[in-house]
Amino acid sequence: MLARVVHLLPAELKTLLERLPEQMQEQLEEIRIREGRPLEVGFRGMSRFMTIDGNLRQTADGAYKPSADTCRKLLERITNYSLYAMEEELRRGFITVSGGHRIGLAGRTILEGGAVRGIRDIGAFNIRVAREVIGASALLLPKLIDRARKTLHSTLILAPPQQGKTTLVRDMARTVSYGLWPGYEASGWPGRKVGIVDERSEIAACVRGIPTFDVGPRTDVMDACPKAEGMMMLLRSMSPEVLVADEIGRPEDGEAIREASHAGVSVVATAHAYDLQDARGRPVLRKLLDDGAFTHVVELKRTEQGVMHRVVSAETQGRPAPRDLPPSQRAGEGPVHVSIGRQRADDP
């Protein structure tokens, strides 16, 4: 994984990180660089500080501290020597580079009329290594197939940050777009037109409007576009059959998703939440669930063995969900189908 981001790093950081054992380099998830403070690396959900000779420590004593010069070089490299062309990214607080890697930034913000206009004096970077796991949704997908319409069910995927939501929806979009439906009965189904609203450039990692991840041949991506607006634009202009959006949560997102489900479009969306109960604590999500905009809810949990998923279905035999159905706590009352799957995060 290190090999994918090494071209972004200034020479001194590059030599340092290449001293890591090969296995660690493979599992690298995050590199946190803070000016004048210890260098931190994250892998397999853990984080360690790094010393000058490449050893990993749990405490910060004797750790390597990047200098101001190193940070300036890093900033120049990730912005392609053009901070002025990154105003939108700076307002959002992160930069997406080719390959889908996301670099979070922190520093002193510039305000304009009370709103953040950008970040000046950037003092901390968090390089998140993106991984494209082809087949990440293979275990989950069979449970989300809508046999009647030969497409996907509208699905809400819930998980805390860093559990692989984005990886999962990306693979779902790709599979559906190629028409690689799992299972015997679905094998002849055509690929579906997929629309992705990629507000944070994470799903498709577009560089100048062209996806750098393989999201499938029938997929259109609205890059860096506010989700609600993007969904409406795609619905009007690109006639998607499956609409994918990441991290919904604002009231206008809810409106757009309702609009899409009335138009017969399957929506696959993710949201930050620990589980269904937690999600129901958020007004927008609760309303969407109550309205039956999502027929399936998936909870993701990452464990030592890999990613676990649990599907909560609101669909009864052929009949669409009644308004007040899904939640898992009512499992005893209705025909709610719960299944638990497990898969490794780093499966090929």
């Binding site: 300036r72 900033l75 120049e76 912005t79 020597y81 053009s82 901070l83 002025y84 062309a85």
Partner: protein
């Protein structure tokens, strides 16, 4: 016979030295003007085109005449060639390496190097301000260069040949 040949050679050399000096005075304002045009182009690329700096430099280089073009071209390639350089270092190296090929002086060089330390590391407005400041300073240099040209160009042309004549007379 040999004396005559020597005298002709001296006259020729003197005239050439004079013309060369004069050409330097004529060339400097022209190059300053070209440099200003190139910076204006860079300003447009940055301010309105949001073009990334290496590409903006290359486009500027493509549109500018030599020797101005190679300053921009070298600065753009410098950042790819040497990984451990910041942009400022690459720019400074390019300016210094190419300076010998131009007729420009220290004042202009200082303006360019100062500009290099700010390019690419701030927002759009800030970038445009810095480029405009550099343009103003170059304009002042250009005015001074034109004054110098009016004053010294003709003088050097005649001075070269006159000194040569003087040497020939003294030698005969």
């Amino acid at each position: 016979m040999i004396k005559l040949l020597g005298a002709v050679l001296i006259l020729f050399a003197g005239a050439m030295i004079g013309f060369q000096q004069a050409a330097g005075y004529a060339e400097r304002p022209r190059q300053l003007r070209q440099l200003a045009h190139a910076l204006q182009r860079l300003e447009t690329e940055i301010g309105y085109g949001h073009t990334p700096l290496p590409e903006a430099l290359e486009r500027t280089a493509a549109a500018a005449p030599e020797p101005i073009a190679s300053i921009f071209g070298k600065a753009a390639t410098g950042i790819w060639e040497t990984e451990s350089f910041t942009f400022r270092e690459s720019w400074e190296q390019a300016v210094k390496a190419q300076w010998g090929a131009t007729s420009m002086r220290g004042g202009e060089q200082a303006v360019l190097i100062r500009l290099g330390s700010t390019l690419g590391i701030s927002d759009k407005e800030d970038q445009m301000k810095h480029i405009r400041l550099a343009l103003q300073q170059l304009k002042a240099e250009e005015d001074a260069a034109r004054d110098d040209q009016a004053r010294y160009e003709k003088m050097w042309k005649s001075l070269g040949i006159l000194i040569a004549v003087l040497i020939v007379i003294l030698m005969v």
